[in-house]
């Protein structure tokens, strides 16, 4: 099979973000978004698929992620090398601020990309782990909505965890 026929055979799909930006993606990327899989398979994906819950900034990242995963998996390298490569990529990919991370997590859930959802959840969990309450509140801008009395009770309940 020559490479030119391969190219012509590749299907592309258009994804439209919340803010109206259109992205062109190959089938290998698009099928990773479980939420639109049916549309693709049923050939209902024309002229473009609107993804109302995802901004262009986040969608660009999601596509980067899916693209890398699709390429690595079909690259013909051995499974262990591919695994290593994906691990490195994932680690670097997760090197974003908390804001983006939560957006990615939410997008992965909405678009139904299991591996990305797992990855973002794990990363968020690791950010929370071994942090103090105040640090967690600050990092995610979470307001302390316990009353003074309630907070005292909670602290007592988990006294062992407060050292």
């Amino acid at each position: 099979m020559s490479s030119s026929t391969e190219l012509t055979e590749k299907k592309v799909f258009l994804l439209k973000s919340l803010d109206g930006v259109i992205f062109e993606v190959e089938e290998s990327v698009a099928v990773q978004l479980e939420v639109i899989r049916e549309l693709i398979e049923g050939d209902c994906a024309r002229p473009f698929i609107s993804l109302y819950n995802v901004t262009s900034e986040i969608l660009a990242l999601v596509i980067e992620y899916c693209k890398h995963h699709a390429e690595t998996c079909s690259g013909g390298t051995s499974a262990t090398i591919a695994d290593e490569d994906l691990k490195t990529f994932d680690n670097e990919f997760m090197n974003v601020d908390e804001n983006i991370l939560l957006e990615l997590c939410s997008a992965a859930d909405y678009l139904d990309i299991k591996s990305l959802f797992e990855l973002t959840c794990r990363t968020l969990a690791s950010l929370i782990k071994d942090r103090t309450i105040i640090e967690v509140r600050k990092m995610f801008n979470v307001e302390n909505d316990f009353s003074v009395v309630e907070e005292k009770a909670v602290r007592k309940e988990f006294a062992w965890a407060f050292k």
């Binding site: 804001n99 690791s126 103090t132 801008n141 316990f146 309940e157």
Partner: protein
């Protein structure tokens, strides 16, 4: 597809995520301490976190020994911890060949640990629980200073199903200049027979392991009772010496046949046991560059009782399962493989105790 969301303006980043996603995040946290701290962050977390399904609890030491130590609850806690630590100490005694004079020095920190059941109370929906027990003394890991090694894994249902143990008096890096000497010995080692006192020592090791394992099994009784959804339990310790495991069927068996034997106050009674033992006075491990002295592998199975799944497994599989993925250890894997290929294998039987 749903219309554009309006929550994007919220300052609180977590407000953008529905409860199920927040739960998914905390489900990846595992660490009980971090989970409890997170529950103290805000009301929403407080209500979501108890639904997590997987918890890892490194049983913490208590800071203050004086505070509220008179309450009945604490009495129970202390009782628990005592049960747990005593055999543990015993085993470190045996492994380290320490003098008996020190027998009393373990008393001082019995009372400084929290009972896991108390801590796990908020987590009502746990399915997988991983407990890590503190060691007797900080830093005193499985006899490292004496180079001895001991690793075991026990599987329990309502009582012991199986236990695999690997032990050695020493496991040291092989020095280059010793190599020739070792090779000589290697030729003769197949014919070596275990000496009486060595055999006794192996039996003491084995019994110690079994006692520690059954104390751990006792420890988790209450937890299994109170957390109805649990279907996987692993109990390890800070020194990574031993591991107690229970899978779904074993926990089910445990729930159905939980006959509390009141004759033992702090451990589960052990059934009659059949043991198989492989022993080599010297064992070279060229792949991992170590030499073991008095290397011993023991496979123990409960006679009668439950554990059908274990019974049908051959020794090789049982051993492979037991030491699968033991962190440091190419050493363990290699030692086990070599020990099992030795021709001599001792068979022993033990009454219930």
């Amino acid at each position: 597809m749903s219309p554009a969301p309006e929550y994007l303006d919220s300052d609180n980043l977590f407000d953008r995520l529905p409860d199920e996603i927040v739960l998914s995040v905390f489900d990846k946290l595992h660490d009980a301490k971090s989970l409890c701290l997170s529950m103290s962050v805000c009301k929403r977390f407080y209500s979501i976190i108890p639904q997590v399904e997987e918890v890892f609890l490194h049983i913490p030491r208590k800071k203050s020994l004086v505070k509220d130590s008179e309450t009945p609850q604490n009495f129970l806690k202390n009782h628990f911890v005592k049960a747990l630590m005593k055999p543990f100490f015993f085993i470190s005694q045996v492994v380290k060949f320490r003098s008996k004079k020190e027998d009393n020095d373990y008393d001082y920190d019995y009372y400084s640990y929290h009972a896991p059941n108390e801590i796990l109370k908020p987590f009502e929906e746990i399915r997988a629980l991983n407990l890590r027990l503190p060691c007797q003394k900080k830093g005193s890991t499985s006899g490292k200073e004496f180079n001895s090694m001991l690793k075991w894994k026990a599987e329990f249902g309502s009582q012991l199903h199986s236990c695999v143990m690997l032990g050695a008096k020493s496991c040291i890096e092989k020095r280059e200049n010793e190599e020739k000497l070792r090779e000589k010995e290697e030729n003769s080692r197949e014919s070596e027979v275990i000496a009486d006192d060595e055999l006794k020592l192996r039996i003491v090791w084995t019994i110690s392991c079994l006692i520690v394992a059954s104390a751990r099994h006792y420890l988790i009784q209450e937890i299994v009772k109170e957390h109805k959804l649990i279907d996987k339990i692993v109990v390890t310790d800070e020194s990574d010496q031993g591991k107690l495991c229970m899978n779904e069927e074993q926990i089910e068996e445990f729930r159905q046949l939980n006959s509390k034997d009141s004759s033992l106050e702090n451990r589960t009674k052990l059934p009659a046991l059949g043991m198989k033992m492989w022993y080599l006075e010297k064992l070279d491990l060229p792949d991992s560059g170590r030499t073991m002295e008095g290397a011993t592998l023991v496979v123990i199975r409960g006679v009668g009782g439950g554990g059908e799944a274990v019974k049908t497994k051959n020794d090789g599989d049982l051993v492979a399962d037991a030491f699968e993925g033991v962190g440091e250890d190419k050493v363990v894997e290699e030692a086990v493989r070599k020990l099992m290929t030795t021709k001599r294998c001792y068979t022993l039987e033990m009454n219930a105790f």
